[in-house]
Symmetry: C2
Subunit: 245 residues, 2 copies
């Protein structure tokens, strides 16, 4: 038996998220099917993060076990051949210790949220960015974002269905910048609550359009109540970009 760590890129658009579901296409489901077609083995692919429906990844991490032995490069080529019909690509395959766990061993995760701030709709990046027509002030958003840094009870930005044991997390990075003609939110932490990044972005958008001040964002955080947080930004702008071990 050998345990393998993989790095995976995917376009979340056509998938009902990462986690396997009986009757829907998911990233985990497609990966497990591809592994079965290539190796004949039924495996469980455990991801570092269970991205929601529509959320993309440039660098998700996962692990699985195979009874039979294969060279790492052979696994990557075989999986990509079997994934040809779907927008999932296996970037790297690496042998790891038997007790490596992609989810629990992750030291930190990073996301990027892409927002297109102009009147005209996206033609090239349809389904890949959040299109916001009202002009947003990037400097105001970036400044306000800093109140979220550090250790807090993030209940105000936590989805009702979140399964984390505690709402207390430590946010290491939240920068709002203009890059390549769009607004990008760079977010980093050891781990995140369900919808946390999208709820941050939805709240910061209120700051950017002048509906909330930095103090309003701080009050929302301190309320420790989802009803006090801003709306959830759409999935299509979110990218899981790093999982560090």
């Amino acid at each position: 038996m050998a345990r393998w760590k993989i790095r995976v890129e995917y376009n979340g658009g056509p998938f009902s998220g990462w986690q396997r579901q009986d009757d829907r296409a998911t990233v985990q489901g497609e990966l497990e099917a591809a592994i079965f077609r290539f190796s004949g083995e039924e495996v469980l692919v455990q991801g570092a993060g269970r991205t929601d429906a529509g959320v993309h990844a440039t660098n998700q991490a996962a692990h699985f076990d195979l009874e039979r032995d294969f060279p790492a490069l052979k696994i990557r080529e075989a999986l990509n051949a079997h994934l040809r019909q779907v927008p999932i690509s296996v970037l790297e395959v690496e042998a790891v210790e038997d007790d490596f766990n992609a989810r629990f061993d992750a030291l930190s995760r990073a996301y990027i949220y892409r927002l297109l701030n102009r009147r005209a709709p996206p033609a090239l990046d349809k389904g890949r960015v959040w299109h916001v027509k009202v002009p947003l002030d990037v400097a105001l958003m970036d400044d306000a974002a800093k109140v979220l840094l550090g250790q807090h009870d993030f209940s105000s930005f936590r989805a009702a269905e979140c399964q984390a044991k505690s709402p207390v997390k430590t946010l290491d990075r939240l920068d709002v910048v203009e890059e390549d003609g769009e607004i990008r939110f760079h977010v980093g932490a050891k781990s995140f609550l369900h919808h946390q990044v999208r709820n941050f972005v939805g709240s910061l958008k209120l700051v950017g359009e002048g509906k909330w001040t930095k103090a309003d964002l701080k009050s929302a955080l301190e309320a420790c109540d989802r009803a006090a947080g801003g709306p959830t930004a759409p999935a299509q702008g979110l990218y899981l970009t790093e999982v560090n071990y």
Copy 2:
């Protein structure tokens, strides 16, 4: 009568190029149909460059005339509403002099060619980059590219069906750089021959993989014969990014 200049972004994937064709979807055809649906006027939309099937644009320019008078913003919003089903977006609409011509008045044009150089196929940018698995040397390509700068007879990089009067053009910029995990070719000139950028990229790829030297590229240029040039890189990696007046 008023003449309008527009700036347009499109994903070339679903289109048989810019130029109107009776029985196929083209960017010009979709724009003319949208203008008709909104204004009731049959117009000719003249583009700065007739991009090929599959070629994208972040900033194509074009002009057309309308008998009836409308505010510029109204035209943009109406066109984008009528283009909702296709990946074409009108970024800007501006009133121009009656003798303005998007094609003949352009002082310079710029293209970017995107090449993804890794073993794993693109999941997020499928149809948006040229996927090349063999490792390419960016510094070698960038250095060799410089032999193409300046005024030359570019017959070696000109498609058979090219309609330009002369094969002599002046190339102002050709930089090969690594950006955002991919290789990008930045190309600029007053005007281009048909397939010129894609033929440059196809030839530079030979340099990048060590099949051609800089001297080979120079010989290819000096042969003034398409048979001496490298292959044509695929359309899907090419973006028209600037038209300057």
